[in-house]
Structures are given as structure tokens and as C-alpha cells.
């Protein structure tokens, strides 16, 4: 199951891409032959030609003064780029846990039947390619697929049949019915409520001195909403105080943690607020440039967001001389499909046109970030909250939530429940509160914070969701009693981390694979108690990894060993500490076949 996601070289004979030289040169010129814009260049070529062939790679390398392998290292890192054959329509079907729960298998089967190829391949006529992809941020409307940057949600076999017919007929993707993303805001709180004019927060902000502004944010006790929970004011202060030619604000909209989709909803419902928050951050740290790093899965939002930016520029909320105080503008940087790019230093590397490999720290991004300059990376929701804090005051914000977790949190809730969607909640609610609210019955487990978080059991449902107890970036996946937790959830999550590791650190790259092997051994009924002990012991090695991905990649297994030990124990062989998985009959089968003999294992 691990070879299906890698994009490249999905060899389909004869379908070679074509990016003619003149369009390639237009693309290169648009980005000034600047190697730091390699991501944009690759995205443009991929979209124009359907793939990025060797010829184009060489041309790009020449123009950017890079080597061919330089271009290839970026190209091969991201799974929406293809260096092989192209398909007119590239279907990327989500294979995350919740997609599976919502009937992905049938959808995949229907696609395969209708298109006539299996996943990982392209139809012979080069028209349609079928690929798997990690969570696309649509957990509340699965099964869902991305086809040529458009998102098709709540797929049914009938819908799939229609879509395939229209693709076969060569219909333009925008004319194919069924592309639709719902926002599903089920509970609106103070952040999502539209009760202030666009620009009000920014206006108030620039009336303060940057230091006073940072102090106000500090008073609010706002902590980063991207998962790590770092105090926002402290990050801004460090960044402001760091020496550099320029400072940068980056808004992290990579939203790759399976089960998270609240940033997508904020960006569709309140994009002005996010951009305004970026401008406020810019004023606070002394930056004139902001970058919204948006995951490629959300490419469909591009023109919408560009229009919002344009409108804000025309209202003089972005651009030069904002309220007579400062200059600030924003560009959108798309990713290319890589979860690890949500990690802030990987995000910076990616925005510089490179592989999304996290950097060694120190130095931290606030000191040396984008282009080696002081950079503040903040989550979409964090920046939105800032706008409200500046408007209504730190005191107001502190009155919401708990002492350690002030304000509200947008929760992305999905899985086995009646009302999946986005809920804005005051911090401090319990898991039980959530289950009641979303109509979840017969719950076996709740995954808090996505695969990198914690899988809790019913005895823990009275625990509080807050930084001081169950901390989360906002993903809640509800797993019903009927699910096979280890196989359907834990194995899927483990595969996710194997796919998404950047590959730098040995323990992250290699241990994740060994975790899967051991888990599969247990699932086959060949596990022994020692296997569990070993997996627990390996955690120490995982903690040596460079970044958060490696630190938490074993969490699906570790937290379920902790909270669902009985599921493992039920599968173990008792009274033995060694089970040979060697099967002589299977091992000699091939050679017996070649020799035209029956295996004779009795030795007679």
C-alpha cells in the first residue's frame, strides 16, 4: 500500500507531456528566472502541460542557473508534480481514514471499473489517471476527490459514473457537475461572527506603537492555533527584535493534518480577516511582505483569494502607505502536496522553491527564516483571532475559555457522527460535550488532534480539550464501535506518516516502516508480547528526530497501546515469545513451479 501515492513515473506509454518552449519561457519570465520561485514555475508547467518532463526540467535548470538534479530534488518531493506521463484529467482520491469510513472503497472501485485502470495508473488513451492522495481537507464531506484542481465531494458511485462519462467526452473541468465544497459551519463563535468592518482591526493596530500592539496580544494570552501552542506575542517580539534586512510574515495554510479543515473554512468565509491579521502581524514585527502558504489541495480557491487581495489593495488596506503608517502586501504561495510543509521551517524551505525538509534549529525562523531573514509563521486561525483581539481588547478575549487556554478554538469534527463540520468553541469543553453536540453514538474512540495527536478511550471522554489537557490543532475524528480500530485507523495513520516523512532523519524514515511491519505482524495474529514492548521502547528513538512529524509519527500506535491495550492483547500469541513467520510451503512455491514439482514438505 505504500507505493501508490508517489506521483512520478506512473508509466503509461506514449502519453508524453507537452509544454512548448514559448509557454515555458513565458512562465520563466513571469518569475524573473528566479530559482526561489521554483515551486511556482513547476506548478505552472505542471498545470499547463500535465507533467514536467525531462526536457522542461533541463530548460528550467538552465534558465535558473541550477543543475538538473537541483530541479529534480524539488520536483520529486511533492506528490502533485509528475515527471512521467500525463493524464488530461488527474483524479486524486482521498484515502484517509474518514474517507474510508464514508465509503471510499466503493468509489475507488467504481472509478477503476469506469476508467478501466487501477489506481496509480493512467488510461491507455492518456485521458484519465487515477491516484490516491492523503487527506484533502474535506473530511466533513467524504468521499472526495480532486480532479484538475477542482474538488468533488460526497461522491457516490452514480456521481462517479457521470463524472467519468463527462471526462471521457472531454468536457472542461469547470463544466462537469458535482464540483462543490460546503463550509458546514455548525457553530459560530466570536471569531467567525462577522461583527466588525474589514479594516477596523488594522486601523486600531496602527494607532498603537508596535510594542504596545504586541503587549496587547500578550495580555490576551493568545497561543498559536497551528498545533504547537506557542505564545503569539512572544513569537512576534522575538521576530521584531531580530536583526535583518527585511522581516516577513508567513501565514501557514498548509492544513495537512488529516481531519483538519477549519482553515479552509476561515479562508472561504473570512479571507479579509486572515489578510488583515497578516497585515497587523506585519506592522507588529516590521515586515512589508506577507506570504500566504496555501496547500495545493486548495488551489481551487486561488482566483477567489486573489480577488479579495485585489479588493483590499483598492481599499488601501494593503499596498503602500496603509493608514499613512506602513507598507504591506501579500502574495500567495502554493505548495505541491506534502504534509511536512506545514512544519514552519519546511514551509519556509518550500516557499523558497526547495524540498520541504525541516531545518535544524537553532536558528529559529524568527531569527533566520524566509530568505534567511526574521520571519513569523502564524496559523490562519491565530491571525484571525488577532483581528478580534485588537478590536475588542485583550480583556474581552481573556474572558473566554480557560486561564491557560484563552479564547475559542475552531474544531474540525468528522467521522462517525450525525453533524460533521466546523464548530467554534470556547476552550475547556470535554470530549463528551463534543460527542453530544455532534450526535455521536456508540463511540469506540476519539482521535484528538489528528494522527499526530492522541486516540482516547471512553473512560477519558470527560477530559478537557485545552492546552493544559488534550491539546489540539483542532481535528477531532470520531470512531464508532463497528470499526476495526487497529486496522482501519492505526494502520492507515501509520502509512500516512511513512508517506509523508521527508526522509532526512533515519528514525523517522526507517522506524515508521518498522512500526508498520510490527503492527502488521500483530494484525496477522503472529505478534507476541515482546513486540508491544519493543514498539514502546522505540519511542525514545523517535524522540530524537529533527521535527514534530518524526516525534509524533508513532503516536497512532503508542497512544492506542496505551488506551486500547486490550485490542492488541487479543491478537497476541500467548505463552510464547517467538513466532516464526517463515512459511516453507510459500517459500518453495516459486521454485517448485519452475521445476514442475509438487512441494514435498513431509520429506519422504
Amino acid at each position: 500500500m505504500d507505493n501508490h501515492k508517489s506521483q512520478k513515473s506512473f508509466v503509461a506509454d506514449g502519453n508524453h507531456c507537452s509544454c512548448d518552449c514559448s509557454s515555458l519561457h513565458t512562465i520563466l519570465a513571469k518569475y524573473d528566472n528566479d530559482s526561489s520561485r521554483l515551486m511556482d514555475i513547476l506548478i505552472a508547467v505542471q498545470e499547463k502541460a500535465g507533467c514536467i518532463q525531462e526536457k522542461a526540467v533541463k530548460e528550467i535548470a538552465k534558465a535558473l542557473n541550477l543543475s538538473k538534479v537541483d530541479v529534480e530534488q524539488t520536483l520529486s518531493f511533492y506528490h502533485f508534480f509528475s515527471d512521467g506521463a500525463k493524464a488530461d484529467y488527474a483524479v486524486y482520491l482521498n484515502d484517509s481514514v474518514v474517507a474510508e469510513m464514508m465509503g471510499r472503497e466503493d468509489i475507488a472501485k467504481t472509478f477503476e471499473e469506469e476508467v478501466g485502470v487501477t489506481f496509480g495508473k493512467i488510461s491507455e488513451d492518456g485521458k484519465i489517471g487515477l491516484f490516491n492522495t492523503s487527506c484533502i481537507g474535506m473530511n466533513d464531506q467524504e468521499p472526495a476527490a480532486i480532479i484538475n484542481q477542482r474538488v468533488f465531494t460526497k461522491l457516490t458511485p452514480e456521481k462517479v459514473r457521470k463524472i467519468v462519462i463527462e471526462m471521457k467526452n472531454g468536457k472542461s473541468i469547470d463544466d462537469i457537475v458535482g464540483s462543490n465544497v460546503e463550509n458546514n459551519i455548525k457553530k459560530q463563535g466570536p471569531i467567525l461572527t462577522k461583527d466588525i468592518e474589514v479594516g477596523e482591526g488594522l486601523k486600531k493596530a496602527v494607532e498603537m506603537k508596535p510594542e504596545t500592539l504586541i503587549e496587547e496580544v500578550r495580555q490576551s494570552n493568545l497561543r498559536g492555533r497551528g498545533g504547537a501552542g506557542f505564545p503569539t506575542a512572544m513569537k512576534w517580539k522575538f521576530c521584531r527584535e531580530a536583526a535583518g534586512d527585511k522581516h516577513f510574515v508567513m501565514c501557514n495554510a498548509d492544513e495537512g493534518e488529516p481531519g483538519t479543515f477549519k482553515d479552509r473554512v476561515i479562508l472561504t468565509e473570512r479571507p479579509e480577516m486572515v489578510f488583515e491579521g497578516m497585515a497587523i502581524a506585519g506592522y507588529a514585527i516590521g515586515a512589508e511582505e506577507g506570504i500566504l502558504y496555501l496547500r495545493y489541495e486548495y488551489k481551487y480557491m486561488q482566483s477567489f483569494l486573489e480577488n479579495v487581495l485585489q479588493e483590499m489593495r483598492s481599499k488601501k488596506l494593503l499596498g503602500e502607505n496603509i493608514f499613512g503608517k506602513f507598507n504591506f502586501d501579500i502574495r500567495i504561495q502554493f505548495g505541491g502536496g506534502a504534509y511536512v510543509c506545514g512544519e514552519e521551517s519546511a514551509l519556509i524551505e518550500s516557499a523558497e522553491g526547495k524540498r520541504g525538509e525541516p531545518r535544524d534549529r537553532p536558528p529559529f525562523p524568527v531569527v533566520k527564516g524566509y530568505m534567511q531573514q526574521p520571519t513569523s509563521v502564524n496559523n490562519v486561525e491565530t491571525l484571525s483571532a488577532v483581528v478580534k483581539i485588537i478590536n475588542k481588547g485583550a480583556k474581552w478575549y481573556r474572558s473566554l475559555g480557560t486561564i491557560d487556554s484563552t479564547g475559542t478554538k475552531l474544531m474540525s469534527i468528522s467521522g462517525d457522527c450525525e453533524k460533521p463540520g466546523v464548530y467554534e468553541m470556547e476552550w475547556g469543553f470535554t470530549v463528551n460535550d463534543i460527542l453530544q453536540m455532534v450526535g455521536a453514538k456508540d463511540v469506540q474512540a476519539v482521535q484528538i488532534g489528528g494522527p499526530s495527536g492522541n486516540c482516547v478511550n471512553p473512560a477519558q471522554f470527560n477530559r478537557k480539550v485545552a492546552y493544559e489537557d488534550l491539546s489540539t490543532g483542532g481535528a477531532i475524528i470520531i470512531i464508532g464501535k463497528e470499526r476495526d480500530l487497529l486496522k482501519d485507523v492505526v494502520l492507515n495513520f501509520t502509512n500516512f506518516f511513512i508517506e509523508e516523512s521527508c526522509g532526512s532523519c533515519v528514525p523517522c524514515r526507517a522506524m515508521t516502516v518498522q512500526y508498520r511491519n510490527r503492527l502488521e505482524k500483530i494484525l496477522r495474529g503472529n505478534g507476541v508480547a515482546k513486540d508491544i514492548e519493543a514498539m514502546l521502547e522505540w519511542e525514545k528513538v523517535m524522540k530524537t528526530n529533527r521535527c514534530g512529524l518524526g516525534h509524533s509519527a508513532a503516536n497512532p500506535i503508542l497512544t492506542t497501546i496505551q488506551n486500547f491495550r486490550e485490542l492488541y492483547d487479543a491478537k497476541l500469541q500467548k505463552d510464547t515469545d517467538y513466532v516464526s513467520e517463515f512459511n516453507l510451503e510459500a517459500a518453495v512455491q516459486e521454485s517448485c513451479k519452475a521445476a514442475g514439482r509438487q512441494p514435498n514438505l513431509g520429506g519422504e
Binding site: 543543475s67 532523519c505 524514515r509
Partner: protein, 235 residues
């Protein structure tokens, strides 16, 4: 350049700000096992074998700069176990045939395995299908033995771009990718440098090998790290 005082294994040493813990330890005769690290090459903590307890936290010694009053513990039973596990992971991940390898006895991975008494890996062998790239006139890249330490990427072709070597793909599929055009006119010296840069037997100079018989090579006679520790004993 200002100086700081740091404590390594209970003893105080002075060091220059900006120096990495692993280098300060080496200079003072304390060996911290490394694989991806190479003196004079920009460090990039990826093998994680140099993990030490620094101010109570596990950190990679090759990428952690010293700071005043820092406290470093370079070895204990737990750290040794972590390092041993990483070596085992590497053996299971690639296809390593020590007895026939030209680098046997000169290989850092093999030497670490000996130092940590690894007789057999606790992990299931992956047996990945990897190829041998012999296109370059002077060197041979055997991906079976590559441990993805990035030393060749960081050291060959000078710093920065255009790169001669780079990574391709990601995760467990990551591999070294050599630019055949840029390296087409490799000299013997460059080939030797590339081979010496590789800590294992993944980059080999063509048409030459087994100069020193196996049994009389660097780590055949004494364990890896001994040189540094001998210096330490003199101090």
C-alpha cells in the same frame, strides 16, 4: 569571538560561541559517534546518532551550538541503546553485504555496528530493490549501500548551486541523484574525494580497490572513535 564555558560529562571546557557540541567534544578527546557529520562540512543532523543529553534534553550534538553553561552528557545506557537501534535500522533499511564490500574495514556504519556489538539487527530486513549507477566514468554509486547521509550532497561541487549531487523523492524512497552532465569530466582527485566523503561503500572509485587487504584496514585494527579517545587520554 567570545568564549563560553560548557560542561561535558562533568568536566568543564571552554569553547568558541557558534561551535557545535560535537566539534568541541572531539577537540577535547571525547568521542560522540557520528555518521552524517563530517569535519568541515556544513552539519545537517539527519542520522541522529550523535544524539546527546543537552541540558537534559535529547539533541543532535552536530547541530547544537554551544552556549554558556550548557551541560552535555554524551553517553549513558539509554543513549547507547538509541544509537545501537539507529545502526540496526540502517542495516535493515538497505542492502549491506559487508564481506564483499570494498569499504569493509573502512566503513563507518560497519565500524559503529562493531563498536555497539550489533551482531544481528532486531528489525526485519526490508530488502529494497535499488540499483547501481555506473554511468559516471570515474565513480560507481551503489544505492544498495547508501545511507542517505547527504555528505556527498553537501561536500561535492562546492557550496550552493548548481548541485552535483542531490536528493530525489522523499521518505523511505529518498535517494541520492547525481548530475551526470556536471560530473561527466570528474578527475581522479574528485572521484577520490567523493569516495572519501561517503561513510559507507555507496560511492566507489572505479578500476581500483582492495589496495589494503581486508583485515588491515582502519577499523579492523581499532574501533571507531579510538583516535579521538586516545587524544583525550593524553589531555
Amino acid at each position: 569571538m567570545s568564549m563560553v564555558i560548557i560542561t561535558i560529562n562533568g568536566k568543564e571546557f571552554s569553547a568558541k560561541t557558534g561551535e557545535m557540541v560535537v566539534d568541541v567534544a572531539r577537540k577535547n578527546g571525547i568521542y560522540i559517534p557520528t555518521l552524517c557529520n563530517m569535519e568541515g562540512v556544513i552539519p545537517q543532523g539527519s542520522c541522529r546518532i550523535c544524539t546527546c543529553l543537552i541540558d537534559g534534553r535529547t539533541m543532535a550534538a552536530c547541530t547544537t551550538p554551544v552556549s554558556h553553561r550548557m551541560n552535555v552528557e554524551t553517553n549513558n545506557a539509554e543513549l547507547e541503546k538509541i544509537r545501537t537501534t539507529i545502526v540496526e535500522l540502517l542495516f535493515a533499511e538497505g542492502n549491506h553485504y559487508c564481506p564483499t564490500c570494498e569499504r569493509s574495514g573502512n566503513c563507518d556504519l560497519q565500524a559503529l555496528a562493531y563498536r555497539f556489538n550489533v551482531l544481528v539487527s532486531q528489525f526485519k530486513q526490508i530488502f529494497p530493490t535499488r540499483n547501481v549507477d555506473a554511468k559516471n566514468p570515474k565513480i560507481l554509486i551503489d544505492h544498495n549501500r547508501c545511507i542517505q547521509c547527504k555528505r556527498c550532497i553537501r561536500r561535492m561541487g562546492g557550496s550552493g548551486k548548481p548541485a552535483w549531487f542531490s536528493f530525489k523523492d522523499r521518505g523511505h524512497k529518498v535517494k541520492v541523484n547525481i548530475d551526470h552532465e556536471l560530473t561527466a569530466d570528474f578527475t581522479d582527485e574528485m572521484a577520490q574525494k567523493a569516495m572519501d566523503t561517503c561513510p559507507v561503500g555507496a560511492i566507489l572509485k572505479k578500476e581500483k580497490g582492495f589496495d589494503v587487504p581486508i583485515g588491515r584496514r582502519k577499523y579492523d585494527t581499532e574501533p571507531i572513535g579510538t583516535e579521538i579517545e586516545k587524544e583525550g587520554a593524553k589531555l
